[in-house]
Amino acid sequence: MKAKKLAALLLTAAVAAGTLAGCGGDSTQADSNDVAGVEGTGGDSAGSNGEMKHFTAFFAVPGSEINDDNEIMLKIGELTGAICKETWLTGQTAQEAVGTLIAGGEYPDFIDGGDGAAQLYEAGALIPLDDYIDQYPNIKEYLTEEEWDKLRQDDGHIYWIQQFGNIYGEEKATTHNDEAFWIQTRVLEWAGYPEVHTMDQYFDLIESYQEANPTMEDGMENIPYTILCDDWRYFCLENAPQFLDGYPNDGSVIVDPDTLKVIDYNTTPTAKRYFQKLNEEYQKGIVDPESFTQTYDEYIAKLSTGRVLGMIDQWWDFAYNVNDALKQQGLDKQGCNYVPLPITIEEGIKNQWHNSGGVLNVSSGLAITTSCEDVEGALAFVDALLGQEVHDLRYWGIEGVDYEVDENGEFYKTEEMRMNASDTAYKASHMCSYSYFPNYSGTSRDNINAMSPQFQPKEFYDALSEDVQKCFEAYGAETYVDMLGTSEAPGAWYPMYSFSSNMTTATEGGMAWAKMDEIKHEYLPKVVMASDFESAWEEYMGVYEGCNPQAFLDEMQEELDRRMEAAEKYK
């Protein structure tokens, strides 16, 4: 009897050997359906026809997972008939995570490969969307013909929908979502809200504040200036020279708007001055000695204690975590919130830290993979997410719970609602913004409200902590953007990083780009820490030239020319 069973087992194993992967896939599918069934009968999530579609998504950016019984997720499920389980990048780079998925050959239904999007396209993992787009009015409306064309890959198809930088109706610019020199409001308040325009002034201010106030109110020592340098996030150290010279965030090169030529910002005199300044400040003990060895988590923890006076970072990289933590601890009352400063290398250069208008980053976006069995259902879900009712649910929440409506139809929040919205546990169990699905900023279809609370001028201002309000008032600003001033988007090529981030070592320029990236990770910290800056800089420049940066610049120039030519069509 036993032997028979064993033989049967063996036989099955042998037969199944060839199709092992397939079998595995099927059984997990069945499992997830089972779960769906259970949840469906659980009551509040049952859709009208009782059949809830379940999708999976992976976004190659860091994010927080929400609970499986998240209230708004289930509510959106009722309206759209679908639920999507999102997972995020943890502890890897986007390219590593995507590369691993490709090597495995199995994908979630939705994916945003981030910096690894081109790899997914190369691997044939994505479904062309062009034939579907016309059937879904909200998706169709989402981008203009020109923008859709920009998303086409070299085979002429569209594989992903860029989710961000899309402004509906009138733009409501409040937050500066991008990179800047940030400083705590307490420093500015102490100095009487001075005008700070150059890097030298910025560090002078921090130094004199630190001298007068070496500790926080509770006696913890201040950290005057820290630099996040963890893996791909080393842009906080790396790309400031482009901004200091008054150029916008093309990310990997500077583009001269007059001659339309690319310039390498790593080797400009400004770059040298910037790193030399950091070096001086490092020697003085102003730059946090742990800068180059701290992990992202340690950095966020540091900022959350309110000890750090200033740093360069992208708003999205720190603010969503740190502002909530400061608020929950009441540190905003000590002036620990950050505001951006319009800093350039010399007085009189117009800064372009902030650009108005949406930026269409064509290098990545929401894509549907070949593993998705219900492409039409998936796109219907995306379409539904762009409808106003669902969009309000995603970003505002539930009326009466997360926001109130006044007699003019304007949405607002109470202080308790704001406190809830900054509570991590509450967010995980209640809020569901599907933030890496296409979404709008700007004005709602009702022409009264903003697409999300942070863009609603009144709500935005009321939600600010007192220290930031006072600071804005002192500078005659109403928003973060006003602190910096704003410029028009620079040109049709913008932004160039959407090309360089998808380069791979398959081309000579891509190889150079990868090598440059590798050695900059090592030498930029070295240059800042060196006791003899000049010789360290010289050594760095020598190694840098060895990476053949010209090959990279040539390919960037080629792409720049191509983009300008493509833009001609729409003039």
């Binding site: 036993k2 032997a3 590593e96 590369g99 490709i102």
Partner: protein
């Protein structure tokens, strides 16, 4: 020692003739071994087919059968890359350091533990010492990061005792990286690795110790002349197996502890494969590096085995 080998041959059972009856008798055993062979084929030999990638300009879209064949070009590219050569050096160095340190520590620890008279104390120490084995590297590196940070306990102690006058950032200096990795390995694995030696020690005939005592041997002499020779076969076999693992110097710990400042000493072959193979979509170069690693491992293990054979010690094959 030659006599020992001969003795072994003598003990060998007489050859059993393969008859249907015999096969029937061993039915269950045969079925199980077939299953294991099948497992080996599916999970160890079939994947070797992927080695073809190393000789192609592999593109996932085209697959193994339609990618362009480029011969040894990828290997050439690999060995002309200064980064790869540095990565080999790092892997070998850390592998050897880890091997020596963890190996010696485990034996010393097992012997010391064996000398503890109180049974209860011994058990407590043993349990505590092998617990770190069950921690994942992410936790161990987290602890290390905290302990060795500027405000961590290590710096605090060094400052208090006046050994340093300002905190030292251990992770900013390439020269500390290998010792930190070695220390982490020792801390995590010593207790666990000692288990096998402890059991080997228990297997030593107590009458040998008694005899040694009669002859006037003290503690040291007993360790030297009874315990160590008693566990020598275990030591040699484990050493042989670990030599083949030298190039598996690690991935997680270096990946998690590394940063830009120390990347010239921290990156191992595995990290190279991830960085230049998987994340650059160049699976060919990753595979080539992997093949190189396997070949070196095989060569190392064969050499070690030969040396063991020459000197008449235990061996693997």
């Amino acid at each position: 020692m030659a006599s020992m080998a001969k003795r072994k041959q003598k003990i060998k059972e007489p050859k059993i003739e393969i008859t249907w009856k015999e096969i029937k008798r061993q039915k269950v055993l045969l079925i199980w071994s077939a299953a294991i062979v099948l497992y080996g084929i599916i999970f160890y030999y079939l994947p070797l087919g992927g080695w073809i990638m190393a000789f192609q300009n592999y593109r996932p879209k085209d697959g193994l059968f339609h990618s362009q064949f480029v011969g040894l070009a990828k290997f050439q590219q690999l060995f002309s890359d200064a980064t790869f050569l540095r990565v080999i050096r790092n892997t070998l160095s850390m592998g050897v350091i880890n091997l020596v340190v963890t190996f010696v520590m485990a034996i010393v620890f097992a012997i010391l533990l064996n000398e503890i008279k109180s049974n209860g104390g011994k058990k407590v120490v043993q349990t505590i010492s092998y617990l770190p084995h069950f921690l994942s590297w992410i936790i161990v590196t987290g602890i290390l990061h905290d302990a060795l940070s500027g405000t961590g306990i290590v710096n605090e102690l060094l400052l208090k005792f006046g050994i340093l006058d300002q905190p030292l950032n251990f992770f900013a200096h390439p020269k500390y990286f290998w010792p930190i990795v070695a220390f982490a390995n020792v801390w995590k694995e010593t207790g666990w690795n000692a288990i096998i030696y402890l059991s080997a020690i228990t297997a030593i005939d107590p009458s040998l110790y008694e005899a040694a005592s009669m002859d006037g041997a003290g503690r040291w002499s007993k360790i030297r002349y009874v315990t160590l020779p008693g566990i020598k076969p275990t030591i040699i076999i484990l050493l042989l197996m670990n030599v083949g693992n030298v190039l598996n110097a690690g991935f997680e710990i270096q990946y998690l502890l590394g940063n830009g400042l120390v990347q010239s000493v921290s990156q191992t072959i595995d990290i190279y494969v991830l960085k230049w193979g998987i994340s650059q979509n160049d699976f060919a170069i990753g595979t080539a590096a992997g093949i190189f690693k396997s070949l070196v491992s095989i060569v190392l293990i064969v050499i070690a085995n030969m040396i063991a054979k020459r000197s008449g010690e235990e061996r693997l094959f």
